[in-house]
Amino acid sequence: MGFFWIGARSFGGVMPWAYRTMVEERRWLTHADFTETIGLCQFLPGPNIGNASIVLGKRWFGLAGSIVAFLGLMALPFVWVLGLFMVYSDLSSNATLKAVVTGVGAAGAGLFVGTAVKLGRPLAKKPAALVLIAACFVLVAVARVSLLMVVPIGLGVALFAARRGWL
């Protein structure tokens, strides 16, 4: 049930709410546990918080727990986002509204760039990491090569570099 509430009130990002609900209010997890779990989920493919719901649901209640936690997390936001989009689709012939929403999209794109810079800062002293970031960027954003190629090859090269102690 907790995940249902996390999903229900997660305006502006789920993670802070997940922390508040599970660690501060309900005390299902300690701070260290939460950090460890999220750390793992950031490395797995898939939506981070979605993975966290699977991992924690499994730990507490097995398969049923994973399914309930995941569906609980997604249910209300799914309805809301589709509802919002339906309303928007009806009104999208309005030029001002379209400009507003496009502005939000551009700002959201900017937040991605900001996130990348934040995550990248600890890597800035490692030349091999910078080369990998630049190579990824050129392949994906400029040359538009499919991620289905870039990710496996990139991870292979990065893993080799990491084993050599370059990363």
């Binding site: 997604m74 939000v104 990710v151 990363l167």
Partner: protein, 171 residues
């Protein structure tokens, strides 16, 4: 037909979505807009905007794209297929990960994934801010949002709100 293609492709993307949905945004855009032509670049950025502004996990953006491609079934298929393969992996890996806590391989994997994720998220931001031909106004809004996020600790919703205001003024 597009429903099946969408589902299969998103399921593949699920497997390479290290770092979460932001990492695969550039690829979704490439496939849905450039390769298949199901959405226009402007449709795509608007679906993205609605998904960012609405509460909930940002993976729901996938369901909006599915909705645009194939209606309500598209929304379910897109969300399910982007989540399911990754969820199965999370299910299996959770315990293994604990068991290999001190393995050098685990540390190498963690270090290897970081730069790839940074490269992909950076690409996602640039691709999203450049729907079709480059537009300085979108870049300006994106640049301000990025700078604001790095310079302050405000909730990201403030920057989306500022983007909305600038969008109304400039676009």
């Amino acid at each position: 037909m597009s429903l099946v293609e969408l589902g299969l492709y998103f399921a593949l993307l699920s497997l390479v979505s290290v770092g979460g949905l932001p990492s695969v945004m550039p690829e979704m855009q490439r496939y849905v807009v450039d390769v298949k032509g199901w959405l226009t670049p402007s449709d795509f950025i608007q679906a993205f905007a609605v998904g960012q502004a609405a509460p909930g996990p940002n993976v729901l953006i996938a369901s909006l794209i599915g909705w645009k491609v194939a209606g309500l079934p598209g929304a379910f298929v897109a969300l399910g297929s982007i989540c399911f393969p990754a969820a199965v992996i999370a299910w299996w890996v959770a315990e293994l990960w604990d068991r290999f806590k001190d393995s050098p391989w685990r540390k190498a994997i963690q270090r290897a994934i970081a730069p790839i994720v940074v490269g992909m998220i950076l690409s996602g931001g640039v691709v999203l801010a450049t729907p079709g031909s480059p537009d300085w106004r979108l870049w300006l809004i994106a640049g301000l949002a990025a700078a604001g996020m790095l310079a302050t600790k405000l909730n990201p919703l403030w920057f989306l709100g500022a983007g909305a205001a600038l969008g109304a003024l400039l676009l």
